[in-house]
Symmetry: C2
Amino acid sequence: MKAARYYAAKDIRIEDIPEPTLVPGSVAINVAWCGICGTDLHEYLDGPIFVPAPGHVHPISQEGSPITLGHEFSGTISALGEGVTDLEVGQNVVVEPYIIGEDVSLADGEPYQLSPDMNFIGLAGHGGGLSEKIVVQRRWVHPIGDIPLDQAALIEPLSVGHHAYVRSGATAGQTALIGGAGPIGLLLAAVLKAEGLTVIMSELSTARKEKALSTGVADYVLDPSEVDVAAEARTISGGRGVDVAFECSSVNAVLDTLLDAVKPAGVVVNVSIWGHPATVDMQKLVLKEIDLRGTIAYAHDHAATIKLVQDGKVNLEPFITGRIELDDLISQGFDQLINHNETQVKIIVRPVPAN
Amino acid sequence: MKAARYYAAKDIRIEDIPEPTLVPGSVAINVAWCGICGTDLHEYLDGPIFVPAPGHVHPISQEGSPITLGHEFSGTISALGEGVTDLEVGQNVVVEPYIIGEDVSLADGEPYQLSPDMNFIGLAGHGGGLSEKIVVQRRWVHPIGDIPLDQAALIEPLSVGHHAYVRSGATAGQTALIGGAGPIGLLLAAVLKAEGLTVIMSELSTARKEKALSTGVADYVLDPSEVDVAAEARTISGGRGVDVAFECSSVNAVLDTLLDAVKPAGVVVNVSIWGHPATVDMQKLVLKEIDLRGTIAYAHDHAATIKLVQDGKVNLEPFITGRIELDDLISQGFDQLINHNETQVKIIVRPVPAN
């Protein structure tokens, strides 16, 4: 079957590889669509990061490069391994793409995303969504009912937004400020809007500002080159500040703005991945008793996220800005995202060529 | 009466001023003892900080410099204003030294310490503990039963520790790492120990290390010049890291260590006052989903703090390292704390000369 394989930075190859083998407790899936993630871009430009270093294997998957890429994918079950009795062949599903030790509990409340050596399917082994087929452990498979398979490829990044929302402790009726309207900022906004919050977004890019408004996920879009975002956000929220804020840009000036914009005892969730240390004015953290919280990926979020889409509270369609074939992954996918980063949100890839 | 009055940095004068007037709803107190706080030192060296700037008055107290100093004090009620019926003349009390708007609710759960223009008695008006007498609003007066008046002068900084403990969400049986064994670090350790935690302290100073051990507030004292504090703390706590950590040094290397030492989903509380921005490795915050929380002063903490002392769970006596007269405030108080900062914990001042 065809698969996109990561060898090294700037070296991703579309190759023919053997189909994966169904084993007891696993589920075979024909991949329908797989999104390209910012993390994939980082691996392409500056990797390996999550991908094991050359000559090394991941301690859980025992795999090293070349690694099949792709962790944002949807598909249809083609076969069930021995012992899997609660799913059916033909069901449409998404995968929560974790590589996590078999001994780690997924019971309610367990922070399994923080377990030792956690990594991702499609970055450190166990196959990937940028291939025609994949076999994954039953525990990571989530049925999606009648959600269209193309939109379902966005459930994974939407779950990242859902997890950030959960980490914030925000509740319906509150006001949120999101710094940065890139893909994760927009999908997080969609979750917050669906959960009943008033959403303010801060963004410089004209294309992204338009997207935030045209998709309806932002109630207000503020441009830091035009207004004092913190002051404006405080005014919108009634004076003392927004209840929660989300850093989705890894830009220090944005983080500073969020610390200024939240109310006393407010929460700032850092969603973005920083390539450099941040400078934090601790006096703001202290004098307002701010909580600055990290969030990574998701845990116990997929079911609630899928329900938001099934119930029509989140419409993922407008966030799909490109549909391409696997053979065009670099030219129409990665290069587009790198060179037209502001107009693209999510490009999804079809590993099996359309008839 | 005699009072220590702040005019400007390096300009604190012991002067005769009129006695304060009892008004309805207030309580007149003969001050017994008043501690010198790090905040007072900062005002002395680099102020005015909390003290209103020259030519300005505080928006709530409507007072400006000269300001009577002292916010860590105990005393005995000498008179009750009209309408105060739940206290008695002769009772020993401490004061929660807030200047907060009359309209701010002190009801359960209200974060009144974060209200607009919050400031402190003894820094921005309403008298101070470094004077013979003071009159304060009933709502800030807390009876202390039979706690000795000298130890009671330490209830205020102990409440700061209690509030940091509450902010951390720590529970009995957990392990805490405190970075810095200065006065607040030690008093916080006393609270944590009283609340059933295992306490690890990180400290360079020999005198402070000895104090942490001799007072019994630390189970382990680690010296960062001798051991890898984060690694050692993780080992002590069973491998994955301490449950909570407290920054009490405003030293960036200490903050870094705490981020390394906490477990996944752990909490780092910043207790110290930073004179400069901190550098924070956001990747640590993200990948471990750490909560970095600010804490300031106290709210709803005095009753629980007083009970810890009354129940014998915290012994404040060993933290009193000096007892002086008001006339010796600079020479035996401030100068001692500045020049012998490592051996001193808390110097307390008696505004009324001993017979």
